[in-house]
């Protein structure tokens, strides 16, 4: 259909042309007007401001807690799944939400399953080390060497590296160049111990240089000493440090000292994950039924390995028992707020005991082991030969460091390095009513068919061109 119009239209078009151009120009300007600042996320450079520095360090602490176990989106389960594979707990709940996956129940920590653990543990290391790098960049030169914030960041870097070294099979450490990181290469897990050693050493140096002697600073120094003693014990087992260097640090840490990573009831992201997974609200994901600690606690009532008898059943995928097993949850962590211990004076005594055994001094070893037991009014350890002594030491470390993400690392360093002794295993019962476990039907011996470490996550292999 033709549009009818009069001959003046071209003139009118010209007349309105100015308006059209104005409209076009204005619309063009409109399209550029899209600047929006949304609150909630924090830009990177905001962390450079001095008022943000304490929160930078708190982030490192939170990242370490998340790596140990957290329901947050970036959380891992190093403590939880390591406990399952090393028989500190047995599965009693789902394989999905808050549960133990089938492969972990079977003792496998393959790269598919461990990706989240790998990511969160690496984030813990990165956040702490990035804090140190940031402080070095933005703090006055006179402040950095003696800032307690720097010392704390080093401390968390040390523990994050220890967590990686004790639990993961290999290391991948990015290459630093200024503030940029280049993806790293596969290396020995002991590199993490060396890195932790350096971090603890720096923490000690900075904290000491601060010149402060208050309780917080003293505790910080002891935490760094205890951390360094533990990684030097690890390194000593692998022949990369002396036991003397470990016991020197250990000796500076009094018995009752402990360094904790806190959790909070504030929200599920900050809950103690191991507790929450077993809480009857409603997950009941793991039980002490069938573990060494079940029988040991039943016999001794050693408070270090306390568990509760609830009368409930877990809806576990433990096929042999039709999915229902007694729900006897650990009671070391009995609240969402329960902190996890990273180091303690009594661990130091066991390091001294282990060093004594290495030196063949079983009497000193016995004495060091019994310090804690005496304090708890428990009978002392007994042994008649070095192998039994080692078994006692390995058992005592299992009890003292129970559910602290340490057992897998211990088992590995002893087994890999041929350390004598027979650490206790977990047993499955013949049936659900057999509380005396006299007839074990599935003996899960270590190390047969069970992982001794978390594989480097598949997510690393799929994203890092330097890791095949």
């Amino acid at each position: 259909m033709r549009i009818h119009h009069d001959s003046a239209i071209p003139r009118r078009i010209a007349r309105w042309g100015g308006s059209l151009l104005a409209v076009g120009a204005l619309a063009l300007a409109a399209a550029c007007d899209t600047n929006v600042t949304n609150p909630g996320l924090v830009p990177d450079d905001a962390l450079n401001k001095p008022e943000a520095w304490p929160a930078v360090v708190i982030g490192a602490r939170r990242a370490l807690a998340d790596a140990l176990g957290s329901a947050s989106g970036t959380g891992g389960q190093a403590l939880y799944w390591g406990a399952a594979v090393s028989f500190e707990i047995n599965p009693a709940g789902s394989t999905g939400s808050f549960g133990i996956p089938p492969d972990v129940q079977g003792g496998s920590l393959g790269d598919q399953t461990t990706s989240a653990d790998w990511a969160s543990s690496n984030q813990a290391r990165y956040v702490a080390e990035a804090a140190v790098r940031r402080f070095k960049r933005v703090m006055p030169d006179t402040l950095f060497p003696k800032s307690l914030l720097v010392a704390q960041a080093y401390l968390y870097a040390g523990y994050a590296n220890r967590l990686l070294g004790e639990n993961f099979c290999q290391s991948v450490i990015p290459v630093e160049s200024g503030d940029t990181l280049t993806p790293g290469y596969l290396g020995s897990h002991t590199l993490y111990f060396l890195r932790a050693d350096t971090a603890f050493t720096n923490a000690l140096a900075v904290a000491t240089a601060s010149g402060k002697t208050d309780t917080a600073t003293t505790n910080l120094i002891r935490a760094a000493l205890a951390g360094r003693a533990s990684v030097r014990a690890d390194l000593a087992t692998y022949g990369q440090a002396t036991w003397a260097s470990a016991t020197t640090d250990a000796g500076l840490v009094p018995d009752t000292v402990k360094f904790l990573v806190p959790y909070s009831s504030q929200n599920t992201d900050q809950y103690n994950y191991l507790y929450w997974a077993r809480a009857a609200t409603p997950y009941r994901a793991h039980t002490e039924w069938g573990t060494f600690y079940e029988g040991y606690y039943r016999t001794t009532k050693d408070p270090r390995v306390k568990w509760d008898s609830t009368g409930l059943k877990g809806d576990a995928a433990v096929a042999r028992f039709g999915g229902l097993v007694p729900f006897w949850p650990e009671a070391k962590y009995s609240a969402t707020t329960a902190p996890v211990r990273m180091s303690s004076g009594y661990e130091m005594r066991l390091i001294e005991a282990e060093a004594a055994l290495v030196a063949g001094d079983t009497a000193t070893a016995r004495a060091k082991m019994n310090l804690r037991r005496t304090a708890l009014a428990l009978p002392g350890v007994t042994f008649t030969n070095p192998t039994e002594a080692w078994t006692a030491l390995e058992t005592e470390r299992g009890i003292e460091l129970w559910l602290e993400a340490r057992r897998l690392g211990d088992l590995r360093r002893w087994i890999v390095n041929g350390v004598p002794g027979n650490p206790p295993d977990g047993l499955y019962r013949a049936n659900t009513t057999d509380v005396l476990h006299t007839t074990p039907v599935e003996t899960m011996t270590t190390p047969v068919a069970r992982s001794l470490c978390f594989a480097v996550g598949k997510n690393e292999r799929e994203t890092n061109p330097n890791v095949p």
Binding site: R2, I3, I9, A30, A31, V42, R61, Q123, T268
Partner: protein
């Protein structure tokens, strides 16, 4: 003159206001003419002589128009004197244009007979066209849903759209009251961004993404724990208020909508008033009905322990004894009223509605009040104002369901192995001692000023505001069975969208018979979502509680604002009114784009050719329009995706920072290019219409969550524009009249829609999981990846080796999670005395669904009906201790599923093919029974009552979705009850 507005982004607001001001000042509105007359007349059908109701009658160039009444009559008042061009258009007829002389204070009469034209080439559409355009000019397919042609009274918009157009997939999600449906147009266009089409109502952009799911109360549980339901904002719209809907399905048509429109556009047009000075038209409707769950278990346990209404032991809610029923037949009622009229140049449509629908679960209920006022006025001869406002209020209460450990449905399904360790109804009844409520208030208001200073120059300026206020509240009171200290969460969310839109159209001739329409405009869409959540636990005792009564409470807040603004130019070249070529470009900016990106350009080109109007075309071949189009559109990244950021966190009541996203300064929109070719035809003397479309859609710069190297520290994936994916398919719709006698008649229709999605490139990334599916080149986006059991029925160990369609790690790709084939069927039987019987069926095939509810149960050793044959073999004597002595008597699938330790979610993929009779409707004229009624109809409808489901999906219903139903990319059955069947009896009368 005071500028219109403007509190949203000031520059944009000022600019768009200035556009209007410039136009108004420079052109000048023309006051209403001092001398006016009336045009009146009657419109009838040329073939039958019957009056044509609802025909649009407009006077060109002066914004005067009305619709014909039931008797076909119309009257246009205050028409300026002089020679006037009057256009009459009605559904199913060819448009007619008359020239009439209007004299002062006199009535000009026109009697018009309309010839049938089922193709509607002269009908006007607006969606995707930069102003008004006739169907003949449009080079892409536009699906139209006209409410006047729909027999069954839809309960909500989801139901209204279901099975109405090829290329449109509307999947229900569960039986929960208020639950919305998942809508897809031509499948998925993105693996990381929303695939929900954007929605406009009367030119105003409104929310189309689902409301936030009402989550179980848990500290900091945002996005983590599932369960409950998700409501759709589309269902705030009263379907009785809708006049018609236009749907454009992808970038080939949606270019002018810019960055957000790659998944298509649905535009809803609500009813308007009528002018003419006659009596207002009143319409009332009352509906009563009930919803009923059809069996969804196995033959032996058809309702999976829930048991339907009618159990001899009664309803569990009133008497929780073994054998009682948790499901009820749910009563529904609806009352609607509206009035349409006009006075002088002012027109109005006012409506109200009230729905009260029980759900099939004990605590489910939805009450909805909806009101609307649409007003139009010709302020000047060349200036028209339309202002529409709707308000809806929904109050929904739900039974805790879904993957909710404290939910009724999950615990009933799992019987004695549930979280209460009991199947005793008295124990389970205690789970109902919680309150789960959702309230939504929705206000949509906005207006359009249409200014037509000359017949060849028009301007349209639209302002709109969509405000939704949602409250999610979940109370587990003091003494609640598993959390005796009590818990309460309350979440308040405010969603708003501000639309500012200007379109100018300029018609002018070029040379000879070539005409042109130049269009230009700008648009700004500002979307905001503000959410505050309060959670408390530990109450001192029973009683009415607020969060502040708890011993510990926490709060959370989020605020996201996104601005998308752009402008466009388009020109339509026209030759002889049958050749049309359209070219245009939209330029967009978006607040979520990376700093370095700048404006994004989306071009388009389309053409149409009404070949049947060529002299050489034999009239016996009927009407045919050929069409083709090519266009680009986009999807913006997330609001925070461009920025390197840290997340503020807490650790033991101290604040800290954790890495957020590594940031991407170059991030931009996904770009989707879509091409479509097709034709529309009316054949066999208009007895049959045929619409065929082939489409191909290619999304480049697809935003994939690129994983970071974990050892580098930032572990959250960073969206990057690295991938590409495509969709290809056809759409075919055929409708015809088999026979039409004075009292008898039969109309049949059918449609075919295919969609084959393909991931083409990952930009070097390794295949990854996204949205519950798998993304790997060569397969559909968000494909169903799992473990295949090659010998499911063999009495042998499971053979799970992947031999075809495998991932690098040995998993099998079953197929897509969105249907690849949808067949629609419709039938209308015209019976004596004006009765009609109509039916619509829908078949969907090609998609896979994961039965998470069965897996969740079996992996927890729940005795599940699919293993009924296996249990006596592996649990001899009905014991609880697994005995695998006779495992050889189990099939491979039984070995994989029925032994709890073997159960693996990866084997629980099943085809979700189904056919459902969407509705079966009988309409009975009842005008004789109601005094003074112009018309009255009794409508009896049964919806989704009959169905067929692929037997490989042994339980449940393919139209079930897990946690984030509307926005979910995948389909996953969780612990819900399938959508129910509904029977409704409604009486509609017009006075």
């Amino acid at each position: 003159m005071t500028p219109l507005v403007l509190s949203w982004p000031p520059r944009i607001g000022s600019i768009l206001a200035a556009v209007v001001v410039v136009s108004l000042l420079s052109l000048g509105a023309v006051p209403l003419a001092a001398q006016t007359g009336t045009i009146q007349g009657k419109v009838t059908s040329l073939s039958t002589g019957q009056p044509v109701a609802g025909a649009e009658v407009t006077v060109s160039g002066i914004n005067v128009g009305t619709r014909t009444g039931a008797d076909g009559s119309f009257a246009l008042l205050n028409v300026p004197v002089g020679m006037r061009e009057v256009r009459i258009l009605a559904i199913g007829y060819k448009a007619v244009t008359l020239r009439l002389l209007v004299n002062a204070d006199a009535a000009s009469t026109a009697t018009v007979q309309l010839a049938a034209s089922v193709l509607q080439l002269d009908a006007v559409v607006v969606t995707g066209t930069a102003g008004l355009a006739r169907v003949r000019e449009v080079g892409n397919s536009i699906a139209q849903v006209n409410l006047s042609q729909i027999k069954d009274p839809p309960a909500n918009l989801d139901q209204l759209l279901q099975a109405r157009a090829p290329g449109l997939s509307v999947m229900q999600t569960s039986a929960m009251a208020g639950e919305g449906a998942q809508i897809r147009l031509r499948g998925a266009v993105s693996v990381s961004q929303s695939n929900q089409p954007i929605v406009y109502i009367d030119g105003i952009r409104v929310r189309s993404e689902g409301y936030r799911r009402n989550r179980p109360p848990q500290a900091g549980s945002d996005g983590f724990r599932g369960g409950n339901y998700q409501a759709s904002p589309l269902n705030d719209i009263n379907p009785a208020d809708i006049d018609h809907i236009e749907i454009i399905k992808g970038a080939a048509a949606s270019t002018l909508y810019g960055t957000e429109a790659a998944a298509g556009v649905i535009q809803i047009f609500t009813k308007r008033g009528i002018s003419g000075g006659g009596a207002p038209r009143w319409t009332f409707e009352m509906g009563q009905g009930f919803a009923q769950v059809r069996p969804f278990g196995t033959d032996s346990v058809p309702y999976l322990n829930l048991r339907p209404a009618g159990s001899p032991n009664g309803q569990c809610v009133s008497n929780p004894v073994p054998g009682c029923s948790w499901i009820r037949n749910a009563y529904r009622q609806r009352y609607l009223g509206s009035v349409a009229g006009g006075v002088g140049t002012f027109q109005y449509f006012i409506s109200g509605g009230w729905d009260n629908n029980d759900g099939v679960l004990p605590l489910d209920n939805e009450r909805k009040l909806s009101t609307r006022g649409n007003f139009s006025a010709n302020l000047f001869d060349n200036l028209r104002l339309d202002w529409n406002t709707s308000y809806a209020k929904s109050d929904i209460s739900n039974t805790p369901a879904g993957n909710n450990a404290q939910g009724l449905v999950l615990n009933v399904y799992r019987a004695e192995r549930n979280y209460r360790s009991s199947s005793d109804p008295k124990v389970l009844d205690s789970l109902l001692n919680q309150s789960l409520t959702t309230g939504v208030q929705r206000l949509i208001t906005g207006g359009t000023v249409t200014y037509t200073p000359r017949s060849w120059f028009s301007n349209r300026f639209t302002l709109g505001y969509d405000l939704a206020q949602q409250e999610n509240r979940n109370l587990r009171p003091f003494g609640f069975v598993s959390q005796p200290e009590g818990r309460l969460s309350d979440e308040q969310i405010r969603y708003s969208i501000v639309t500012a839109d200007y379109i100018g159209n300029l018609d002018f001739p070029l040379v000879g018979e070539v005409g042109s329409t130049f269009s230009f405009g700008g648009q700004s869409i500002t979307t905001e979502e503000v959410r505050t959540t309060a959670f408390g636990q530990g109450f001192p005792g029973p009683g009415p509680l607020v969060v502040g009564n708890a011993s510990t409470f926490i709060a959370d807040e989020s605020r996201i604002r996104v601005v998308n603004a752009g402008f466009f130019f388009q020109n339509v070249f026209k030759l002889r009114d049958r050749y049309f070529l359209t070219g245009g470009v939209r330029l967009d900016g978006n607040s979520a784009f990376g700093k370095s990106l700048g404006l994004q350009a989306y071009p388009k080109v389309s053409g149409s050719y009404v070949i049947s109007e060529e002299p050489f075309w034999p009239q016996t071949l009927g009407e045919v329009k050929l069409r083709g189009s090519l266009g680009w559109s986009g999807r913006a990244p997330g609001a925070f995706d461009a920025v390197r950021s840290w997340t503020a966190i807490s650790s033991n009541n101290q604040s800290g920072f954790l890495p957020g996203q590594v940031g991407n300064a170059d991030i931009g929109p996904e770009r989707t290019r879509e091409a479509e070719l097709g034709f529309d035809a009316a054949l066999l003397h208009n007895r049959m219409t045929l619409e065929v479309t082939w489409y191909h859609r290619l999304t480049t710069h697809a935003l994939f969550p690129v994983r970071q190297v974990p050892s580098d520290g930032f572990i959250a994936s960073q969206p990057k524009n690295v991938g590409s994916l495509s969709n290809t398919g056809i759409e075919l719709a055929v409708n015809g009249t088999v026979f039409a006698k004075p009292e008898w008649g039969l109309d049949l229709g059918g449609s075919v829609y295919t969609n084959h999605g393909l991931v083409r490139d990952l930009g070097g990334a390794v295949p990854f999981a996204a949205g519950g599916g798998w993304v790997q080149p060569g397969f559909a986006p968000m494909a169903a990846r799992g473990i295949i059991i090659n010998n499911p029925d063999a009495f042998a160990p499971p053979d799970t080796v992947c031999r075809t369609d495998c991932t690098s790690d040995g998993f099998h790709i079953f197929g897509p999670q969105q249907p690849t084939l949808i067949l629609g069927q419709q039938l209308t039987l015209h019976l004596p005395r004006g009765l009609t019987l109509s039916a619509r069926g829908e078949y969907q095939a090609g998609a896979w669904i994961q039965d998470g509810a069965s897996f969740n149960a079996l992996t927890r050793s729940v005795r599940w009906p699919t293993c009924g044959r296996a249990y006596p073999i592996i649990y001899p004597g009905g014991g609880t201790t697994l005995d695998t002595t006779n495992i050889s008597q189990l099939t491979a699938r039984e070995r994989k599923e029925c032994i709890p330790g073997n159960a693996n979610s990866d084997t629980f993929w099943f085809p979700q093919d189904f056919w459902k009779l969407r509705d079966l409707t009988l309409t009975v004229p009842m005008g004789w029974a109601i005094r003074r009624a112009n018309s009255a109809t009794l409508i009896i409808t049964a919806q989704n009552y009959f169905r067929w489901i692929n037997s490989q999906l042994r339980m449940f219903d393919p139209e079930m979705v897990g946690r984030d139903a509307l926005d979910s990319q995948n389909r996953d059955i969780s612990e819900h009850v399938p959508p129910p069947a509904v029977i409704t009896v409604a009486l509609r009368a017009t006075f």
